[in-house]
Each structure stands twice: as C-alpha cells, then as structure tokens.
Amino acid sequence: MTAITALLFIPFILILVIFIILRKLSKNTKKFWTPKRIIIVIAGYITLGFLAFLYFAFFYESKLTVLANSEIKQLESELKSLQRYDQEYNSSYLTKDYIKNTWEFKFEGDSLPVSIQERGNGLNFDIRLRYNDDIEKGKAVISYYQFPVIIDGLNMADQIPLPIVYMTQEQLFIEPPLENKVSYNRIKASLGIVDFNREVDLEPSISLFHYSSVLLIDVARNTELEDLQGRVTYIR
C-alpha cells in the first residue's frame, strides 16, 4: 500500500518541484537566452556533431568491415565449387587457409572408436576420415575447417565456436560447440524504414550464406576407425 502511494505521489511531487523551479527561473532564463546566445548554442551543437563525425571517419577503427556485394558474389562462386569436391570425396578443397584449429591425440592399438555426441540442434559440421601416410601409427590429427559464413555482408567465420573434441579411455569424443552469443552495433546513416522496404526484393544469398564446416580426422593407413554413430564419411 505504501509502495503504491509512493509510486503515485512521487511523480506528482517531482512535476510540482520542476514546475516551481522553472517558474522561478523563467525570468532569468528569458533574459539569458537572447537570440544571439541561442544561435551560438545551435552552431556549437552542429559543430560538435561534425567533430563526432570526423572522429568516426578518421579515428575510429572498426573490428569488422562490411564486404562489398561484388566481393560477396566472388566469394560465393568460389565456395560453390567446394560442394562438388565434397561430393566426389576429394579432400583437395580442405586447404590450410580454412583451418581454424587442430588437435592431436595418441592412442594404443590399431583401432580408434569415435563417439559423436549430438545435443540441441545437432552437429553443424560434417565429419570426414582421411588416411594419411605422413601420420605415424597410433596418432590421430583432427583439423577443423571453417568456411566463410556471410551474414548481412559480414564474414562471421571467426565467431563460429569450435567443436568440443577430446579423448578419454582410448575413445575419441566429438561434441557440438556451445552457442556463442555475439552482439554488434551497426551504423547506418540512412532511413531504416526505406531501406527495409527496398531490400526485400534483393537476392537473399547476398545477405546470408554459409557452407557446412568440416572436421577432418587424419589417421595412419592401417588404422581402423570404429564409427559408433555412422556419421563419418571417408574422403580421399
């Protein structure tokens, strides 16, 4: 009851106090705010705004840059060929440029059981197996390849979280990553309501596209991989 009374009366008291103060000050402010002084304030305000603009134009360093439509289209056409390689079980598209992380594990014996844990939305990457002559027996090298993820003209590949990969009791566990929440502020010196209506007809691929990332397991040629969930695909 006291709280409700306070909530009702406090704004009234505040308004009353402001009103009394303004009434007392009005005579003085009228004398003070001559047209000349108001013009100075307006000019000062516009100058401050201009200085703020100069700061953003010349001194502000943005961590992310928006790709031009031509750059995005070029990237998209390059990445389209990846799907073709993958369908042909050809690992040549998995180049060093796309490697985001590598894990190395040692195990005993000729077989490596792989357990894939799916939770939530499931796995958001493909798992591939490649027999590699350069790798010694009893060793597994796991590489995570992340391809560009274009969202609203930005490449967000660096923000995609890594999968959880670990080995316990001679068994390899692969788990999907925890969700990464990222928020950014965007400066658009334009009218959002106009842009929104105009952008509806744009090609959706320009603003949003991604290709499935790949977790590649490299093992020695005679190693037997026990795929417990049947999710691993062999690749040359």
């Binding site: 307006i42 401050l48 201009f50 928006v66 995609i160 969700e179 990222v182 400066i187």
Partner: protein, 242 residues
C-alpha cells in the same frame, strides 16, 4: 515615414524574414532539447535490431539509423509551423509592417530555412549519440554507412519541409474563412475515418520504392502545394485590402 503603399511585398517579406528568423530561433533550441531527450531515452536500443542463428552462433545487430531523429524532426516541424500561426506569434507581426499574406510568405521562407538547419541538428544528434555509445557502452561498431548522401540529405530536408508546410496550412486553415474551416474539419474527420475503417487503403510502397531524389521531388511538390494553399488562405482572410 513609411507606408504600406510605398513598400513592395518583396521588401516587406524580406524585412519580416530577417525579423522573424531571430524571433523564432528558440524553436530550433526546442528541437535540440527534443532530440537530446529522445537520444538519451533510446540510448542503447537504436532504431532497430535484427538477429540471426547460424552454426551455433546467435548474432544480434543493434542498428543505429536516422529514423528516430527524422520522426522527431518531422513532428517538431509540424507542431512549430502550427505554433507560428497562433495568436501569440501573430502579435509579433505587428512589430514590423506586415499583412497576413506577407506574414505567411515569411513563415514559409522561415520553415524552409529551419528545415535545412533541422537536418544539420538531426545529423549532429545522430553522430553525438554514436560517440556517446562508443565511449560509454564499449561495444564494437560496424560502419555500414557513415556519410549522409546528398540525396538522403535532400530527402530528409524535403520530408521536414513537407510536414512544416502541412502544419502551416493547418494553422492557416483554422484562422481562415468559415468555409475553409469547415472544409478542413471535414477533411480531417474523413481522413481519420478512412484510417480507422481501412488502414490498408493508404499504401506508400510505390513511393518508398522510388529513388531518393524522386521521393524528394514528390515531397517538395506536395510541400509547394501546401505552402501555396496556406498563402492563398491567408490572402483570402485579410482584414482589409487596399
């Protein structure tokens, strides 16, 4: 000693514009206060937001655009233009030689000048708000578009000018002859009725899809019609004419 017959309308309007531009300057300070208050209230929310969920990534963008600043400027222009036609402001017309027609023409010129200054104030508030956010919130900014394009500048000016013109027309309608008052009241009631009964009947999609320059031309044309009507009504409602 001067008399009305010796002075041309152009000279009277020039004098009035010079006089009124200083007299009404406080309305621009009210725009700064209005923009600052709303800039503070919507400090961290921006003009809009968008979210994406891809590959275990929850991405959220807070977009800082000019929408809110323009809406405020438009609202300010409409209210200020109506206020310019009120009795309190009309009393100031007596300080210089004037007629209702010359006063309305002077108001038209002032609204156009103030609309231009309002665009600069709007832009200043936008950049100052961004500066405050970058220092206080410490969140990264992605700069999509930092510079006002000339066509956008023209569009903002034309929209503010249009609403100023509508405000001036509105104010003049209610101090004009009885039949204009009745016609305006009927038009307002009819417009409200249409908006309530069938809000979808007003479709601005076609206008929005036009390029900025063409949109500006459309707005300025309507503003010119509104200004002309306001002057015509003022001329019709002269107390005595020589």
């Amino acid at each position: 000693m001067h008399s009305l017959t010796n002075l041309s309308l152009k000279t009277i309007v020039k004098k009035q514009v010079k006089w009124k531009i200083k007299l009404y300057i406080s309305s621009l300070s009210s725009l700064i206060i209005l923009q600052s208050i709303f800039g503070f209230l919507f400090f961290s929310s921006g003009s809009g937001s968008s979210g994406y969920g891809q590959q275990n990534l929850d991405l959220n963008f807070t977009i800082y655009s000019l929408d809110m600043h323009l809406f405020l400027s438009v609202f300010w222009a409409f209210i200020s233009a109506i206020i310019f036609t009120t009795r309190a402001y009309r009393m100031d017309d007596l300080s210089v030689i004037s007629s209702r027609t010359s006063s309305t023409i002077a108001n038209t010129v002032i609204i156009m000048i103030y609309s231009l200054i309002a665009v600069f104030i709007m832009a200043s508030t936008f950049y100052l708000q961004l500066l405050a956010i970058s220092f206080l919130k410490n969140e990264p900014f992605i700069i999509d578009n930092l510079i006002f394009s000339p066509t956008l500048f023209m569009m903002c000016f034309s929209i503010i000018c249009l609403f100023g013109a509508i405000g001036l027309l509105f104010g003049n309608c209610f101090k004009g002859p009885v039949f204009i008052k009745s016609l305006t009241s009927f038009f307002v009631m009819f417009a409200v009725f249409i908006l309530i009964i069938s809000p979808d009947s007003i479709n601005l999609k076609g206008l929005i899809m036009l390029p900025n320059f063409m949109m500006s031309v459309c707005y300025l044309s309507v503003a010119a019609i509104s200004f002309s009507l306001a002057i015509w009504i003022a001329n019709k409602s002269e107390v005595s004419r020589t």
